[in-house]
Every structure is written in structure tokens, then in C-alpha cells.
């Protein structure tokens, strides 16, 4: 089976390192094609597999614990009141 072309390769032909690919994945800056390529790559690259799992676990923790709840209603009301007084 032919090896798929690495979609992370830059237009200038520069091949990315594992670290560079992993960062783009964790930072969610990739196309679906790149995501698929990387998940296949992890199947035979243990360091990437391990780092990916740790980094994603941290990202999920951040998303579940640091989104901080809703903005208090009084701020919304206060903003609207001030805007109305600016336009009156």
C-alpha cells in the first residue's frame, strides 16, 4: 500500500517534525485531512501517542473546569441601561 502524502508538508517542501505536527493538532489548527494523517501516524509513533493523550487530557480538563459559568445578569442589565442612555 502506498504511503499517503503528508498533508503537513509546507509549500516549500519542508517536512514537519513530530512536535510541530502535534502542536498544530493540540492547538486545533488543522484540516480534517491532517487530523486523519496524524491519527494514523500515532499508530506507529509511541512518543506522539503518549504526548497526544496527555496534552488532550489537559485540554479537556481546561475546557471542563475553566469555562467559568455565566456572566451575572446585572452586568447585562447595566450595559443595556447605559447604552440606552447614550442613545437617548
Amino acid at each position: 500500500m502506498a504511503t499517503p502524502t503528508n498533508p503537513f508538508i509546507q509549500p516549500d517542501g519542508k517536512k514537519p517534525t513530530c512536535m510541530e505536527m502535534l502542536q498544530l493538532i493540540i492547538d486545533n489548527q488543522v484540516t480534517e485531512e491532517q487530523r486523519l494523517y496524524f491519527s494514523q501516524h500515532m499508530g506507529h509513533c509511541l512518543p506522539c501517542y503518549k504526548k497526544y493523550n496527555v496534552d488532550m487530557a489537559i485540554k479537556e480538563l481546561l475546557q471542563s473546569k475553566c469555562c467559568g459559568g455565566n456572566c451575572p445578569d446585572d452586568i447585562v442589565a447595566e450595559i443595556k441601561l447605559k447604552i440606552n442612555s447614550m442613545t437617548a
Binding site: T17, M19, Q23, I26, D27, N28, Q29, K51, N53, V54, D55, A57, I58, K59, L61, L62, Q63, K65, C66, C67, G68, G69, N70, C71, P72, I75, V76, E78, I79, K82, I83, M86, T87
Partner: protein, 196 residues
């Protein structure tokens, strides 16, 4: 307050209200969280959000209807934080980014400073560990993590919000993630994971 080179818009009062209510207000919860994560104080976050929305309304003709309102608002809030809030509070330590970028270019150093955390130890962090670890980072590192992981902005958007090049966004994020891991590893050790 200009966002790129967008020409000044002309809106009627009714259009201004529509833009404000339909394009700006839906982001208020994200804005409040951003304000809180920057100031680490709920009252200061409240003031920052209010100030941002009033500025957004005042300068609404610099905003082009239907474009990226969220990024535009985040940029105003970040600038208000730097210009108004940060001046009033104790100036945080400045990070030497030149040094950071040098670090980033060395994979050997990178391997040494990246703690070997385990997923199992992270799964036991059900309390405030992650929030405390995030809050303990220097505000510039904290900011890129918030923009990327909590708000899912693209590199280009973050570069515009922060007025820095995309390369700096990437290196700052990379360094911020390593610092966060170092913090989490020390928490994991106190939880009994000696080989966290």
C-alpha cells in the same frame, strides 16, 4: 479601535442596536470568563466587560457587520486590560520572549523541560488544580491558553487580538503548555503520583 483596515461604516441607530444585540451580546459569557481569567477578580472582570461593551458600542462604526465580532470584542477587552487595569495593578513580571523563542528552537531542551505527566494522574484532578495551575501562569501565557483552548481561536485571530506575529503566538502557546504541565506535575506529586 480599528480592526484591520475596515472602512468606517455608517449605521442607523436601529442597525447599531441590532448589531449590538445580535452580534455582540451573544459573546458576553465568554467575555466575562476572559475578563475573570485575566484579572482573577470577579468585580474587576465585571468592570472590564462593561467597559468593553460600552467601547464596542461607541466605536461600532469601526466594526463591519457580519465579520468576526467575537475576535473584535476580545481585542477591545485585552487592550482595556493592558491600558486601564494593568496600569492600576502591580506590574507583573515581564517574560523574556527572545529567550523563549530560543528555547523553542531546541528540541533537546524541549524534551528536558517537558514533564512526563500521565493521563491517569490528570483524570484524578477533579478539583481546582487545573484552574489554579492556569491562574498561576504569567498573564501573557495564560491569555494564549484561554484564547486557544477555551475559545478555540485560530492562530491568525489570536495574532490580531494580541497584536503579535503568528510565530510568537505559536511559541508562546508551546511554552505556556509546558509551564502548565510543570504545575500539574507538581500537583500530581502532592496527590501521591510520584511518577506523575
Amino acid at each position: 479601535m480599528e480592526w484591520e483596515e475596515a472602512p468606517r461604516q455608517h449605521y442607523t441607530e436601529n442597525e447599531k442596536q441590532l448589531i449590538f444585540n445580535n452580534e455582540f451580546m451573544p459573546h458576553i459569557h465568554s467575555m466575562y470568563n476572559f475578563g475573570y481569567r485575566l484579572t482573577l477578580d470577579r468585580d474587576d472582570a465585571k468592570d472590564l466587560v462593561q467597559d468593553t461593551y460600552l467601547k464596542a458600542y461607541r466605536f461600532i462604526e469601526s466594526f463591519q457587520k457580519g465579520t468576526n465580532a467575537k475576535a473584535w470584542l476580545f481585542r477591545i477587552l485585552k487592550n482595556s486590560f493592558i491600558n486601564d487595569y494593568r496600569k492600576k495593578s502591580k506590574e507583573p513580571n515581564k517574560v523574556d520572549y527572545q529567550e523563549v523563542e530560543t528555547y523553542y528552537n531546541s528540541e533537546e531542551v524541549d524534551r528536558l523541560i517537558t514533564p512526563d505527566l500521565r493521563v491517569e494522574s490528570l483524570k484524578d484532578m477533579m478539583g481546582d488544580e487545573i484552574s489554579n495551575a492556569l491562574n498561576s501562569l504569567d498573564v501573557d501565557f495564560r491569555t494564549v491558553i484561554i484564547l486557544c483552548d477555551l475559545e478555540d481561536f485560530k492562530y491568525e485571530e489570536m495574532a490580531k487580538i494580541l497584536d503579535i506575529p503568528i510565530g510568537t503566538v505559536r511559541s508562546r502557546l508551546h511554552r505556556a503548555r509546558n509551564l502548565l504541565k510543570e504545575k500539574l506535575k507538581s500537583y500530581a506529586k502532592t496527590m501521591g503520583y510520584n511518577n506523575a
